[in-house]
């Protein structure tokens, strides 16, 4: 359903204090992956990993610098400007902060019906009945229709955002940290809803999150990003419990586990990630990696199959699987 080939997004950044010097911010650097229909891909990474930029490139909300994106068989990177609107029929996005992703001056009815009105002409009665159906699907009811976002809770706002995204019956839903600003119990409700909708409508999800626990509960596959590059991709359960890539190992060891026997262990890694403006050559993680060798600076960072259905960009993993 979703195929991404060698996607790149570079930003030209003018260095402060120098007129002509232009650095390049390689927000997304040569990313390739696929997602099957009805599957959820969890995209994890810390700040600066490029995950938010990546998903916005998939709908051309941000224009990619190069690379190919194929959605449901259509190569959208080839679309001309006037065809761009067709993309939104197939892919919709749900954003992080539910309250600010809804226009505070519009009521729920207008918000949910906006995407549909943008694509086709519908009558007022049709609009209303459609919105009522959608509200029921996301667990709200008719009385919410004339309310404004300010009158709704965070969880309710996110449901409205999901209803809006579903209004034009997309096949793919991109969710950028949809539960990050919600309480734990509300988050559970929203995740429950998302799973139900996925089953009912055979939706494909791309779920961006920095919260590994959330990704684990909802994704089939997980993709780990670091400084614009993909480190590892595979079934979520394996990536979390038996990480291959050294960065994934560090990441998983840093996640606090809500278990009575949890103990705070010494951090697996010190310091901060290097600046995205000047990432290390080859594997960007090599400067902090406990297993780094000289060849890491020359690594081409393409994902190679290391086990059944598991891919890693680490040359040490790849060597081990070859031998």
């Amino acid at each position: 359903m979703v195929e991404v080939y060698e996607l790149k997004k570079y930003f030209a950044v003018r260095k402060t204090g120098q007129w002509s010097a232009k650095s390049v911010l390689k927000a997304v650097d040569n990313v390739s992956f696929t997602v099957r229909m009805g599957e959820t891909l969890g995209i994890v990474g810390e700040s600066g990993s490029g995950k938010s930029t990546l998903v916005r490139c998939l709908t051309r909300l941000i224009e990619p610098t190069s690379g190919k994106v194929v959605l449901d068989g259509e190569e959208i990177t080839k679309y001309r400007k006037r065809d761009l609107r067709k993309i939104s029929k197939n892919v919709q996005m749900v954003f992080q902060d539910p309250v600010s992703s809804l226009n505070p001056r519009m009521n729920v009815l207008s918000i949910i019906s906006e995407p549909l009105s943008a694509h086709e002409k519908i009558s007022k009665t049709e609009r209303k009945s459609l919105v009522v159906d959608l509200l029921k699907e996301v667990g709200l009811n008719e009385e919410h229709m004339y309310k404004y976002p300010g009158e709704l809770s965070g969880g309710q706002c996110q449901r409205v955002a999901i209803a809006r995204a579903l209004s034009i019956k997309p096949k793919i839903l991109i969710l950028d940290e949809p539960t990050a600003s919600l309480d734990v119990s509300v988050q559970a409700q929203v995740l429950e809803l998302l799973e139900k909708l996925q089953k009912e409508h055979s939706l494909t999800y791309l779920f961006v999150s920095h919260d590994i626990a959330v990704v684990r509960s909802i994704s089939h596959k997980a993709m780990v990003m670091y400084l614009g590059k993909v480190m590892e991709i595979g079934p979520t359960e394996k990536v979390v419990n038996e990480p291959l890539h050294p960065y994934t190992k560090v990441l998983m060891r840093s996640v606090p586990i809500p278990d009575p026997d949890s103990v705070l262990t010494e951090p697996a890694i010190q310091g901060e990630p290097p600046s995205a403006l000047n990432p290390p050559s080859g594997c960007p993680f090599r400067t902090r990696c406990p297993n780094a060798v000289d060849e890491c600076s020359l690594a081409d960072m393409t994902l190679k199959k290391v086990e059944e259905d598991r891919y890693s960009a680490c040359i040490l993993n790849q060597r081990r699987s070859d031998s």
Binding site: E46, S47, S153, G154, G155, D183, V184, S185, V186, Q187, A188, Q189, L191, E192, H210, D211, I212, A213, V214, V215, R216, S217, T236, E237, V240, N241, V250, L251, M252, S254, V255, P256, I257, P258, D259, P260, D261, S262, V263, L264, E266, P267, A268, I269, Q270, G271, E272
Partner: protein, 321 residues
């Protein structure tokens, strides 16, 4: 069992606002002991931040408190709390952005704190900044000391905040969601730092958070709050192994565990209004085990097993109202 450092005794708090009287805290009772990490957990609106503000004496003018707060067995009043704030009781907040002045370097700000709180002469204060930064495990302390806040990352800023807070050797450090805005690897470093410093200097930490994973790793004892009341207090192990209050059970069921995965179960309904809270137990509308008494009387906090307190009628004696 070590001595008591902080005690909240039947503490209630209302706010007078345009929307009505917000009953933010209701009969809060708990203790923080010396040399322990006590975590207050709960979701938005449960009152955990307000509780810390009450302890610091930083409530806004429309606050109407009732009840008592004791620090080292001495009752806190508006006057003496000012003495203790910044000396015996220090704070680290969630967003270091607004706590650091963007116009001054790290060195200047840390030195300011030393001069004000510990009466260190200026020259000595400026020089000792680098040592203090090293103590909070700041890499490249020499260079960082002369940077401005906007040149620091989130993790680095929090280290500076921790350094500031600990510079006066407080007995209690209040940390209000200090790592919520940080990446998970940085969070680990900061938590480890706080643990090391606490073990070295022997102060207590009141750690406010909504992240149960962090609680599991970091806290000794936990207080669970819901809609302005404390519903359960227990040691960390007991809370996770044997949660008693239905809200705690529901909360733990809703928390995703990355190792285990599995189905999350949400708590139906939503948090009640604090302007018009329900009579009786504030969790009654959402509780599967609620019975008649729950809608009439507020359950008191009672000790059910050693060191394990619950405010729930299910454990209060007669189960059938």
């Amino acid at each position: 069992m070590s001595e008591e450092l902080v005690r909240f005794e039947d503490y209630s708090l209302d706010f007078m606002t345009l929307y009505g009287r917000i009953k933010a805290l209701k009969n809060v009772n708990f203790q923080i002991r010396k040399n322990e990490v006590f975590s207050l957990v709960g979701e938005t609106g449960c009152g955990k931040t307000v509780t810390s503000l009450a302890l610091l004496g930083l409530l806004p003018s429309n606050a109407r408190p009732r009840g008592k707060i004791f620090f080292e067995q001495e009752q806190l009043t508006a006057q003496n709390v000012e003495q203790k704030r910044g000396r015996d009781i220090a704070v680290v907040f969630q967003d270091p952005m607004t706590s650091l002045n963007p116009l001054y370097t790290v060195r200047q700000q840390l030195a300011d704190v030393l001069m004000a709180r510990r009466q260190v002469p200026k020259k000595e204060a400026l020089r000792s900044v680098v040592d203090i930064l090293r103590e909070v495990q700041m890499l490249d302390a020499n260079r960082v000391a002369d940077l401005y806040p906007h040149e620091l990352s989130g993790g680095m800023k929090q280290r500076v905040m921790i350094a500031m807070a600990l510079s006066c050797r407080p007995k209690l450090l209040i940390a209000d969601e200090p790592t919520t805005a940080l990446d998970v690897t940085i969070q680990k470093q900061i938590l480890w730092l706080m643990k090391s410093l606490r073990e070295k200097h022997g102060f207590s930490i009141l750690f406010i958070t909504h992240d149960m994973g962090v609680v599991a790793e970091f806290a000794h004892r936990v207080g669970v709050m819901y809609a302005g009341s404390i519903v359960e207090i227990a040691t960390k192990r007991r809370l996770f192994k044997n949660p008693l209050h239905p809200y705690t059970v529901g909360l733990l069921n809703a928390v995703p565990n990355p190792r285990v995965g599995g189905k999350l179960r949400a708590i139906p309904g939503s948090v009640p209004s604090l302007v018009n809270p329900p009579t009786g137990c504030r969790f009654n509308e959402r509780c599967e085990r609620a019975f008649r008494k729950c809608f009439k009387e507020t359950p008191p906090l009672i000790e059910v097993e050693d060191q394990h307190y619950v405010a729930c009628h299910v454990y209060g004696g007669d189960e059938n109202g």
